[in-house]
Symmetry: C2
Subunit: 158 residues, 2 copies
DNA sequence: TTTATAAAAAGAATATTATTCTTTTTAATA
DNA sequence: TATTAAAAAGAATAATATTCTTTTTATAAA
């Protein structure tokens, strides 16, 4: 089943990615339509799975989580059963918001959000390095972030 | 101004991070309260900036973007003015959803979402490597992703 | 302790919006 | 051109957000 998204659908997805709290009325007005087709289209996009969920994005810094860190990890003797255990442990750490198995110079790439350097170090020492079979660990600490979004530019995929 | 978030506030943030389309009534019921204090608290969290925005999260695969790639970049002769130009260019690429200046073995770390390997290669060849002063470029291609979220576990920060 | 005060919650009323249903229009096809 | 199905519009209803007033709870001063 290939895409069956027309221009209005992609406009809706673009709008809702920016602000999912817009009223159907306001969206309808922007697109020069009435509320009912807008409403029905959005419901269809939800039902068909184009829209996964609606979430609130928090201001991490305001909450006290000021540091983003990426960690590249290689494992030493990785049996399949150990990999699964490793991933499960990693995913359970609240500091870890992303965990990707990757090809390239690492086996895994993690993204973490933590309070500060101290919290980062605590994570490394008292959580990460306690995991067995850990090989190389390389950290990239975000000094600044110029772009960080979930918004997908749909102009290229339409 | 340190946090002045009580238990109810953090519960609200936790709930809205998972699903921002919940009605105040349903949330109020879950927390054993009535709608008006819930409503007012949420508005306060918005106004004070704890909640940055509400967005729809799309299913990238469904839209045809099946590949996530991280790219570590070093620059060669980086004057300040060039860095700014470089970042601006990078941020304008629709494939790039994150761009971090990092300390460690790279100067920048990018996160990309693209259609497939071919689109990735096209990006490298016809966009990235056209930028001047590019030093080392190292790609980490996500083979699988076991965790990828914006949801912040507030139990540790409260 | 009591009493005064402010903040939070509850309750009630209203305004908006979401949602459903019916009718009309548009577009596609025979 | 006529026929049919899909999309949009319009109208009506149900649900929710939002506002306002009253009550309760917590806090601190007497």
């Amino acid at each position: 089943m290939p895409h069956t998204l027309d221009k209005i659908d992609t406009q809706l997805l673009t709008i809702l990615q920016k602000n999912s709290n817009r009223t159907t009325k306001s969206i309808a007005k922007e697109l020069g339509m009435t509320t009912s087709p807008i409403f029905e289209r959005i419901k269809k996009l939800e039902k068909e799975g184009y829209i996964e969920k609606y979430v609130a994005i928090l201001n991490n810094k305001k909450i006290g989580l000021k540091l983003t860190v990426f960690i590249g990890i290689t494992l030493q003797g990785h049996t399949r059963s150990y990999l699964e255990k490793f991933v499960k442990e990693i995913n359970n750490f609240p500091e870890v918001i992303e965990c990707h198995r990757v090809s390239g110079n690492f086996d895994y790439l993690l993204k973490l959000v933590v309070e500060d350097i101290e919290a980062y170090e605590t994570f490394i020492i008292s959580k990460l390095t306690l995991l067995p079979y850990l090989g190389n660990v390389q950290s990239l600490i975000a000094l600044s972030t110029s772009k960080e979004t979930n918004e997908i530019d749909l102009s290229r995929v339409l």
